[in-house]
């Protein structure tokens, strides 16, 4: 999906379109949920499992 154009693009614009920040957001969401869980909020097992498989899918984005 790449192309050969050399139009300059800002780093911020690059990161917005990149899956790595999404993975970071997902990890942060998992961390927040973990803290809430430690605080007594009930978290059912499928919630972290769903976040995990989404992380696994994003991790393979480099082979797109």
């Amino acid at each position: 999906m790449g192309d050969l154009s050399t139009t300059p693009v800002s780093p911020a614009r690059r990161w917005v379109a990149d899956p790595l920040p999404l993975l970071g957001l997902l990890a942060a969401a998992g961390g927040v949920l973990g803290v809430l869980h430690l605080g007594g909020v009930a978290v059912p097992w499928p919630v972290p499992a769903l976040l995990a498989v989404v992380a696994a899918g994003l991790a393979l984005s480099g082979s797109t």
């Binding site: 790595l20 393979l60 984005s61 480099g62 797109t64």
Partner: protein, 185 residues
């Protein structure tokens, strides 16, 4: 940058790709869920222990190896899948891409996720659902490219793809460890 017309076509093709990825992922999840039934006679704590040991091994392997070397199909999905039209091709490409084993697998995250579905002993519906979510997630980067991509998108992603692969492995494993602990009650 894609023109409006071009982006519209790309989005329609992506929808077919998304549907295929979801079906492919759900297929893998269902298959793993069925096979997990064979392991159900084993007590959950034992299966959780095996899962923990294998997951730890895979994380260390992914973090240590410059390029992950695990059993996988070392071929790209053939272009012939588009021979019967773009929409059908996008769907078929998505099925092969979303199932998680028909093309390159450069991160241990999907292996850890597959082991979780295999060993955690969940209802079959949840196994299919987790597989489908994996498939959907595989299509997200393509949507990002269509909506937000700029020239050189692939090259930029390639510059840190190993961070993405390893980060995904660590995040997925941590979340699955937590989920396993919740299952153990």
């Amino acid at each position: 940058m894609a023109s409006v017309r071009g982006r519209s076509i790309q989005l329609r093709l992506w929808l077919a790709f998304l549907a295929g990825c979801t079906v492919g992922g759900a297929f893998t999840g269902t298959a793993l869920g069925v096979f997990s039934g064979l392991l159900s006679p084993l007590p959950l704590p034992l299966r959780a222990g095996v899962l923990g040991a294998l997951a730890l091994f895979l994380v260390v392997l992914d973090l240590r190896q410059p390029v992950l070397r695990l059993p996988q199909r070392s071929q790209l999905i053939p272009q012939e899948v588009f021979a019967r039209g773009m929409a059908r091709g996008g769907f078929r490409f998505g099925v092969e891409y979303g199932c998680g084993f028909r093309t390159l697998v450069p991160s241990a995250a999907s292996y850890v996720a597959a082991l979780f579905v295999l060993l955690a002993g969940m209802p079959l519906g949840w196994a299919a659902c987790l597989g489908a979510a994996f498939g959907v997630a595989r299509s997200v980067a393509v949507l990002q490219y269509i909506l937000l991509g700029r020239p050189g998108w692939q090259q930029f992603l390639s510059s840190h793809t190993r961070w993405l692969e390893r980060g995904g492995t660590v995040v997925a494993t941590a979340l699955l460890a937590w989920s396993t602990l919740l299952l153990l009650g």
